[in-house]
Amino acid sequence: MRLLVTLLLFLVPVLGVWTFWTAEENGWWMPETVTTYGPDIDYLFYLILWMVAFFFILTEGLLVWFVFKYSKKDDTKGVYSHGNHKLELLWTVVPGILLLVIAFSQMETWADIKYRGNLPKTPPIAHVWASQFDWRVQYPGADGEFGTWDDVESPHLFVVPSDEDVVFILHSRDVLHSFFVPAFRLKQDAVPGMAIPVWFNVDKAIDEEGAEDKEAIRLYDLICTELCGWGHYKMAGRVEVRSREKFDEWMAEQEANVMSNGKEDQS
Amino acid sequence: MSEAIQDYDPAVDAPAHHHPIYDYDSGPPVDRGKFAIWLFLGTEVMFFTGLIGTYIVLRMGAASWPNPEDRLAVDLTALNTFILITSSWFMVMALQAIQGGDQGAMKKWLLATIFGGSVFLGVQVYEYFVLFQAGALPNVDIFWSTFYAMTGFHGFHVFVGIVWLICAYFEAVKGEYTKENYLRLELAGLYWHFVDLVWVLLFTIVYLM
């Protein structure tokens, strides 16, 4: 039993570290990030990963070692100790400082991404409406104003320009939903009754093969991550990133479509 | 590891079905019942915190909030509040009476407390009745939703308090309370004061603010 238990406990950190080590090549890892703030988030993720990995290996390692060493048959008494103040102080202060470091290192990135005051000063490019179970994107159309007859509506597909700050307003018509684009490191719940401004800036152009190509039209999965009913699992959308010119082309096309539809209506 | 297990000796180890009961008293010199009732009142505080918190958050978040004076009969409720506070005072008198050993006075004050509480509840039922007649139902708007939730649950607490006091009255009639032992009356009193206190708070924030 003693050896078996030691082995089991030993396998926990070993296999644990191994799965994380090999995860990337197995595809069990975060997709490469393409936004400006993505690398900041990834940096913090790795910072915590290393810190946590250290304590993981340390504590699990000690556990294995102690279980192995002190479960030998032995009729003598164990060490009669009720603690050690110096040691206790050490393992209170050191993790305490590390934890504060972790906490404070998060703040700037969080404020940059989420604080309303730090929102880019560009006007919102679109309103994104979530409802059971689809996404609708509403662009202002030719007149640049939302809620007018020439608004461009795009179901499921959110087309945005690359290399510039994109601000949009997130809404829900019915229940909670959540706007999640893994490659953007962006997630925000859509709440009925609230209009939540969200921003991102896709500055890294990688196509499906991972090659750098500024001109390519890139598609990213838009995933709903807040339970919204039976169809939650398939509430998929797409975000399409285009260079500014190509974006303008697309927009012009859409506006022309709306115009011609409008004419039909009037006739 | 089985050597860790002592041999079983039926002579000493056979389980008995009953033991004499050794009961100890530790900790602060308050009676168990009173200790428990204070804990219970703590939970009640949190319960009303939940309800009142809801009210505050919704009111702060609302685009506009009606003036309570336009919707509620504040004067009548002010009078009602006075009645409830008076009943709390009656309760204090009842306790004082029994502390002085005066069973008769205690019973009288207890009846007065019950009467005060009942009047309060009656007026509240009347208020609801009038409001319902006027179509002010909980599903009309968020003002009424929060109004009925808070006052309704408070009214329910008053009702429980009255029932509790009536039980206490019957015990008083049976002569269960004496100058030395009136703990159960005290517990009922604590609850009653708590219910009154919550009302003063509710009256202030729902009717006056």
Binding site: Y70, N84, E88, L176, K187, G193 | D23, D25, T49, L58
Partner: protein, 617 residues
């Protein structure tokens, strides 16, 4: 803490008939101090009084335990159905498929999947883990470990159990009402949970769900008042606060958590019920359109806020996760110390750190809402408090390791499970740091990393501690000991399969797969996760069936296990002074406590343990 003197039999206090434990009305004196000897009338109780409407804390504890185990089987079965769907979506569910879904040839519907995880989470948390820890162990252990004859209010204690039964009824019955069981997740976020047309489970199922929660809340409340009063007022002479076993500390702290957090959940549950049945609008914003219909049922009043529910729900449910782990920590501490034959390392820091966890636990609830649209500035404060909660947890982990250092470990089944508790709690706790970090949580919120995190703490942590507790206190419960060989087999399999099941969820979550999804392969990008999901599911099935060893061992040992005496583990705490199992009234002699709870390897005596009641000069 002063120690009240013990009046000997026939002393003034006893002869005056001071009896603080007598039903309140018949009590003769107030605030009586000291111990009282009460002659007990020895009549036999009828079957109903003894086993069903019992007022004996030990029987009530066992009632909670059996109920919890049966519900564990049910919650586990729901988990198996979840795992089937995730590995092989839309295929025929074995065994029950034909029966439940004849229309689709045995495959489950997406609606049903949403009900599955909702009820799995609800049952596991509210009807397995909490009743097992506070209900079963709390009831059984508190009076025994502090030397009391019973709980402070035995009848209230009985009501506590029976208040849970309607809750069980509503939880189970909800599967059979129109539209099926609740389907809005165990967190029941409105408006999905309040608008009837939003989800089939939001018809009556959700109302049943809310009622189930309310009754389980009343049950916990009755228990918590009782536990706190008992611990404060009924300790044996000499049992000062700092001589209480950590199990008692932990159960006491959990009771306080319940007392101050649970009423808020009751209040919001009632508000949600009102939204659903009376048309109030607490959680329904203005202008909702669901399925092209105006929101029917709920929110006629409108003007409410969906986020309000989240705040108040988590104000309870975050402390609830510590209600689910603090007693497990306490029990694991006791078991580690007993079977390591060594005093607990740093007793006081252990007790204080549990208090710190509980106290901080009240101000961190917002960490579940970083992505919810809550004011981001609030997120900052919630992040700092959450991260700081790791500090007392770190202290506990290091103290457990300190306890094992230089020990003489006996690898009993109880000990194995307690060691596993430490090993797995570390994993679950460490992944919590990621989530606490707001920017990182943007990515991992609502992915399988969260699922991995909380299964490591509740299953890896708490479930293993519960098993440890059952193996350890089984002799006291039934006077017999569980079979060691079977216990070890059970442990090895559970440990392997639990890790295989839950560790790989980190990987799926990192790849970005969201939770609560009926079909992970609806997105092309997740298609490659199928083999991993299959592996997880197969491990989960093995884990489930492996519990057969435990179930068999448990029932077999109740009747056929080896009989043991009072103190089979040579442990020091008071419960081992009583006969196994103790009769009504618990102890057959008067107690006085002389030592702390963990005097193992003490140089004062020859044996390697010094019982709390043994005086040495």
């Amino acid at each position: 803490m002063s120690v009240p003197p013990i009046p000997s039999e026939g002393s003034a206090a006893a002869s005056e008939g001071l009896n603080p434990r007598a039903p309140e009305g018949q009590r003769k004196g107030l605030g009586a101090e000291g111990s009282v000897y009460i002659e007990h009338d020895h009549h036999e109780l009828s079957f109903i009084k003894k086993y069903i409407f019992s007022v004996d804390h030990k029987m009530i504890g066992l009632q909670f335990m059996f109920t919890g185990l049966v519900m564990l089987g049910l919650g586990g079965a729901l988990a198996m159905a979840i795992r089937w769907q995730l590995a092989w979506p839309w295929t025929e569910v074995p065994v029950i498929g034909e029966l439940l879904f004849p229309a689709t040839g045995g495959a489950m519907s997406p609606e049903f999947y949403t009900m599955l995880f909702t009820m799995h989470g609800t049952i596991m948390i509210f009807f397995v883990i909490i009743p097992m820890l506070t209900g079963a162990f709390g009831n059984f252990l508190i009076p025994l470990m502090i030397g009391a004859p019973d709980m402070a209010f035995p009848r209230l204690n009985m009501i506590g159990y029976w208040a849970m039964v309607p809750g069980l009824f509503f939880a189970i019955a909800s599967f059979f009402v129109e539209g099926g069981a609740a389907a809005a997740g165990w967190t029941a976020y409105p408006p999905l949970s309040t608008i009837k047309s939003a989800a089939p489970g939001s018809m009556s199922g959700q109302t049943y769900w809310l009622l189930a929660l309310t009754f389980s809340g009343i049950s916990s409340m009755a228990g918590a008042v009782n536990y706190a009063t008992t611990v404060v007022k009924m300790r044996a002479p000499g049992m000062t606060l700092m001589r209480m076993p950590l199990t008692i500390w932990s159960l006491f702290i959990a009771a306080l958590l319940q007392l101050f957090a649970l009423p808020v959940l009751t209040a919001v549950s009632i508000e949600q019920i009102l939204d659903r049945v009376a048309g109030t609008g607490f959680f329904t914003p203005t202008n909702l359109v669901v399925n092209q219909l105006n929101a029917e049922g709920a929110g006629e009043a409108a003007g409410g806020q969906p986020l309000l529910w989240q705040h108040l729900f988590w104000f309870y449910s975050h402390p609830a996760v510590y209600i689910m782990v603090v007693p497990a920590m306490g029990m694991a501490s006791d078991i580690l110390s007993v079977h390591a034959r060594k005093p607990i390392f740093g007793y006081k820091p252990m007790a204080y750190s549990m208090m710190a966890i509980a106290g901080l636990g009240f101000i961190v609830w917002g960490h579940h809402m970083f992505a919810s649209g809550m004011n981001p500035a609030l997120g900052m404060t919630f992040m700092v408090s959450t991260i700081m909660i790791a500090l007392p947890s770190a202290i506990k982990v290091f103290n457990w390791l300190g306890t094992l250092w230089g020990a003489r470990i006996k690898l009993t089944s109880a000990m194995l499970n307690a060691i596993a508790f430490v090993a797995l709690f570390i994993i679950g706790g460490l992944s919590g740091i990621w989530m606490a970090a707001t920017p990182v949580d943007i990515y991992i919120h609502d992915t399988y990393i969260i699922v991995a995190h909380f299964h490591y703490v509740v299953f890896g942590g708490t479930m293993f501690a519960i098993w440890a507790g059952i193996y350890h206190w089984f002799p006291k419960m039934f006077g017999r000991i569980m079979n060691e060989r079977l216990g070890q087999i059970h442990f090895v399999g559970s440990f392997i399969f639990a890790n295989c099941t839950f560790y790989m969820m980190h990987q799926i979550g990192l790849a970005g797969l969201m939770r609560r999804t009926a079909d992970p392969y609806a997105y092309e990008v997740y298609a490659h996760l199928q083999p991993l999901n299959e592996f997880i599911s197969i491990s989960a099935f093995c884990l489930f069936f492996w519990q057969g060893f435990f179930v068999f061992n448990f029932f077999w040992s109740i009747f056929k296990g080896q009989r043991v005496g009072r103190n089979p583990w040579k442990a020091t705490t008071l419960e081992w002074d009583a006969p196994s199992p103790p009769g009504h009234g618990n102890f057959d002699r008067e107690l006085k406590v002389y030592h702390g709870p963990y005097e193992y390897a003490s140089p004062l005596v020859d044996e390697d343990y010094l019982q709390q009641t043994r005086s040495v000069n």
